[in-house]
C-alpha cells in the first residue's frame, strides 16, 4: 500500500516551478492501464455512442416513430409535458339545498374531472389528499408517468431491500460445507435461470384470480381467502405481487455475488475472532459486513439499476393497467409512436438512475480512486 501511494504522489506532481517528469515506472503503469481499458471502451463506443446521442437528440424533438411527418425541434416541451402538474381544491358535492352530500358519514367530493384544467392540455388525476380539512387533487398532464416514477421507485426500494436480506441469509447458509451443498447452489440459481418472460407467466399462472392458480388454491385450503383474490386486478395488490415476483427472480443474483464475496474472506480471521471470544453476531457485523462491503456495494448498485429499469414483468403481467418507468417509455413509443416523449422519459429515467447510483457510491463509500 505504501508503495502504491508513493507512486501516486509521483504521478500527480503539483505545479511547482520546476516540474519533475513522472518516473518511467509510473508512465509505464499509466500506459498499461489505458491499454487494458481500451477494448472495453472501444466496444462500448461502438454500441452505445450513437444510440445514446440519438436518445438525447430525440428528446428535444417531436419525432414520431415510423412516420413520415417532419421532425421539429421543440426545446423542452416534452419534458414540460412529462412534469406539468397542478394542485386544485376539490369542492364538496352539494345537494339541491346546498348541503354537502354525506355517505356513511363521509363528505362526498366532486369528481376531479370538473376541477382539473382541460386546456391547453388535459390534466388527469394522480392522487387525492386531505389537508387541514380540505380535499385536494394532484393532477398532471402525464399522470401515468408520474405514477410510474413513484411506483418504480417504491418497487425498487422494497424489492432490493428484501433481495439483499434474503440473499445474505441464503449466502451465509450455503457458505459452509455440508452434504448436498452442490445441489443447493444449483437450486439457488434456478429462479435467475428461468427466462424472465416465462417466469412472469409462471407467476401469472400461479396468481390467477381463480382456484386454478396455486396461491388461491392453497389460500382456500388454509382458509386464508375464498380463492378469488385478484392479485393483478386489485390496485393495492398489484405492486406487492410484482415485488414478490421480482424478489423471487433476482435474489439468486444477490446471493451468488455475496457467496463469492464471502469466499474471499480468509477463514483465519474468523478463527482469530473466535479465539478472542467474539460471538456469531459480533463476527457478522465486525468481520463479514465490512469485508463484504465492496461486493455488497456492486451487487446493490446493479440490482437497483436493473430494478429501476424493470420492464418485462410489468409489460407481461400488467400491460397498460399500470406502468413502470421503462414500460411507460415503451408504451409511448409503440402505442403512441411518440419517439420524442419516449426519449424524454428515457432521459428522466437515466437521471433518476444516475442519482441512485451516486447515492450508493457515496453512502457505501465505493472506492473509485
Amino acid at each position: 500500500m505504501e508503495n502504491a501511494n508513493g507512486l501516486e504522489a509521483a504521478a500527480s506532481v503539483t505545479p511547482t516551478p520546476k516540474r519533475r517528469p513522472p518516473s518511467r515506472l509510473v508512465r509505464v503503469e499509466q500506459r498499461t492501464a489505458w491499454l487494458l481499458l481500451s477494448p472495453t471502451f472501444v466496444i462500448l463506443a461502438v454500441i452505445a455512442l450513437y444510440p445514446f446521442a440519438q436518445v438525447v437528440y430525440s428528446s428535444f424533438t417531436n419525432a414520431k416513430f415510423a412516420s413520415s411527418t417532419e421532425t421539429r425541434f421543440v426545446g423542452l416541451d416534452n419534458y414540460r409535458a412529462l412534469f406539468a402538474f397542478t394542485i386544485k381544491e376539490l369542492p364538496p358535492r352539494l345537494d339541491e339545498d346546498g348541503e354537502p352530500v354525506l355517505r356513511d358519514g363521509q363528505v362526498q367530493y366532486e369528481s376531479w374531472v370538473s376541477v382539473l384544467p382541460r386546456q391547453p392540455q388535459r390534466f388527469r388525476q394522480v392522487f387525492q389528499f386531505s389537508l387541514l380539512g380540505k380535499r385536494y387533487v394532484l393532477g398532471a398532464v402525464s399522470a401515468e408517468f408520474i405514477r410510474a416514477v413513484w411506483d418504480t421507485v417504491v418497487f425498487t426500494v422494497v424489492a432490493v431491500f428484501f433481495e439483499t436480506v434474503l440473499g445474505m441469509i441464503i449466502a451465509l447458509t450455503l457458505a459452509g460445507n455440508f452434504p448436498g451443498r452442490g445441489l443447493m447452489r444449483a437450486a439457488m440459481l434456478v429462479p435467475w435461470a428461468v427466462i424472465t418472460v416465462v417466469s412472469a407467466r409462471i407467476w401469472e399462472w400461479m396468481l390467477q384470480p381463480t382456484r386454478a392458480g396455486l396461491f388461491n388454491t392453497v389460500g382456500s385450503y388454509l382458509g386464508l381467502s375464498e380463492g378469488r383474490t385478484d392479485f393483478f386486478g386489485n390496485p393495492t395488490l398489484q405492486l406487492p405481487s410484482m415485488i414478490m415476483m421480482d424478489v423471487w427472480k433476482t435474489t439468486p443474483f444477490m446471493a451468488l455475488l455475496l457467496l463469492a464475496g464471502l469466499a474471499t474472506i480468509p477463514s483465519d480471521i474468523y478463527e482469530a475472532a473466535k479465539v478472542d471470544g467474539a460471538g456469531p453476531l459480533r463476527r457478522f457485523f465486525r468481520i463479514t459486513v465490512p469485508l463484504l462491503r465492496p461486493t455488497l456495494a456492486v451487487a446493490l448498485i446493479f440490482r437497483t439499476l436493473d430494478s429501476l429499469r424493470v420492464f418485462d414483468i410489468f409489460q407481461v403481467v400488467l400491460g397498460n393497467q399500470r406502468y413502470s418507468m421503462a414500460s411507460f417509455a415503451q408504451d409511448m413509443l409503440v402505442s403512441r409512436r411518440d419517439l420524442g416523449m419516449s426519449s424524454a422519459a428515457s432521459m428522466v429515467i437515466f437521471v433518476i438512475i444516475f442519482v441512485f447510483a451516486l447515492i450508493y457510491i457515496r453512502m457505501l463509500r465505493v472506492d473509485t480512486r
Binding site: A33, P51, T173, M184, M206, I301, A326
Partner: protein, 283 residues
C-alpha cells in the same frame, strides 16, 4: 472426530437443516409449478381447484416441444450467443477490472462512472439507435446480438471484477514484481488464478443474463428467423388449437431450457467457492 454431541449443537443442526429446507422450497416452488403444469393435460390445467400433482402425468408437452425444429435450433443459437458474450465479457472485463482495481492512473473514477452509465438507459430507448448501428456495420443477427449484449454484461463484469481485484492484497503483486514479472505476467500468473471464483460467478450471471435477453433478440431476428434465440422462440409458440395459448408447452420449454443451466452450475459450483485467499495469501 466428534466425540460427544452437545444438545446446543443438535438444536443448531436442526435449525440449519430447517433453514436449508425452507430456502430450497422457496427457490424451487415456482419451478415445481412449471414442471407440474408441463405434465398436465390441457383439461387438467384449467381445472379448479388446481391439483398439486397431475392425476395422470403426460409427456405430450415435452414431446411436442422437443420435436419442434425451430425450438431445438434456438437452443443452439442461444448457447452460441450466451457463451460468446460471456467469454468476451470476461476477457475484456478482466483486463479493465485489473486496470481499475489494481493500477494507479489518471481518469480512473470517470472511467468507472462512464462504464456504469452504459446500463442507465432502458433497453427500449437504445433499441432503435442500436439497430441503426448494426445496419451500418452490416452484421448478421448472431454477431449483432453478441455485440449488443455487451451493453449490459460488460459494465457488470467490469465493476464486479474491479471490486474483486481491489480486494486482493497488493503484497502479492509486489512480490511478483520483485521477482521480475511484468504487469501482464503478474496479472496472468498471480491474480487471474486467484480471481477464479469471481470469474466463474460473474460468468454464470452474465451467461444467464444473455441467455434470457428478449427485446434485442426479438428485434434483430425479425428478418432472420433461423437466428432466433430461446426466449423469442418460446414467445412465438402457437398452440394446436387456434387462438389458445399453449401454456403447457411454454412451461415444458421453460423446464427444458433451465435444466442445462442447472447442470452448468453444478459443474462450476466447486469453483465458485474454492477457498480462495485462505491458502494463497498466508505467509
Amino acid at each position: 472426530m466428534r466425540r460427544r454431541v452437545k444438545p446446543a449443537r443438535v438444536v443448531g443442526q436442526v435449525f440449519f437443516w430447517l433453514l436449508v429446507a425452507v430456502i430450497f422450497v422457496y427457490l424451487m416452488f415456482p419451478f415445481y409449478w412449471a414442471i407440474v403444469s408441463a405434465l398436465k393435460t390441457q383439461a387438467e390445467l384449467i381445472r379448479t381447484p388446481a391439483t398439486l400433482w397431475p392425476d395422470q402425468p403426460v409427456l405430450t408437452n415435452f414431446r411436442s416441444v422437443l420435436s419442434n425444429d425451430r425450438f431445438v435450433r434456438a437452443m443452439g443459437v442461444s448457447t452460441l450467443v450466451a457463451s460468446s458474450v460471456t467469454l468476451l465479457s470476461l476477457v475484456v472485463g478482466a483486463f479493465a477490472g485489473y486496470a481499475l482495481g489494481k493500477m494507479r492512473f489518471k481518469g480512473k473514477a470517470p472511467s468507472l462512472y462512464v462504464i456504469l452509465a452504459m446500463t442507465m438507459f432502458p433497453q427500449i430507448a437504445v433499441l432503435a439507435g442500436l439497430y441503426a448501428v448494426i445496419r451500418v456495420l452490416g452484421m448478421p443477427a448472431i454477431p449483432s446480438m453478441i455485440l449488443s449484449y455487451m451493453l449490459f454484461t460488460l459494465p457488470f463484469t467490469v465493476w464486479v471484477l474491479t471490486a474483486f481485484f481491489r480486494g486482493l492484497p497488493d503484497s502479492l503483486l509486489q512480490a511478483a514484481q520483485v521477482d521480475g514479472a511484468t504487469l501482464f505476467q503478474a496479472f496472468r500468473h498471480v491474480l487471474l488464478p486467484l480471481t477464479a471464483p469471481a470469474l466463474v460467478t460473474t460468468g454464470l450471471l452474465a451467461f444467464i443474463q444473455a441467455w434470457n435477453e428478449y427485446l434485442f433478440a426479438l428485434t434483430f431476428t425479425i428478418i432472420d428467423p433461423p437466428s432466433r434465440t430461446v426466449p423469442v422462440a418460446i414467445a412465438l409458440f402457437t398452440g394446436e388449437v387456434a387462438r389458445q395459448e399453449p401454456f403447457g408447452e411454454i412451461m415444458a420449454a421453460a423446464v427444458i431450457v433451465t435444466v442445462p443451466l442447472v447442470v452448468l452450475v453444478l459443474l462450476f459450483q466447486q469453483r465458485i467457492v474454492a477457498g480462495l485467499t485462505a491458502g494463497a495469501v498466508k505467509g
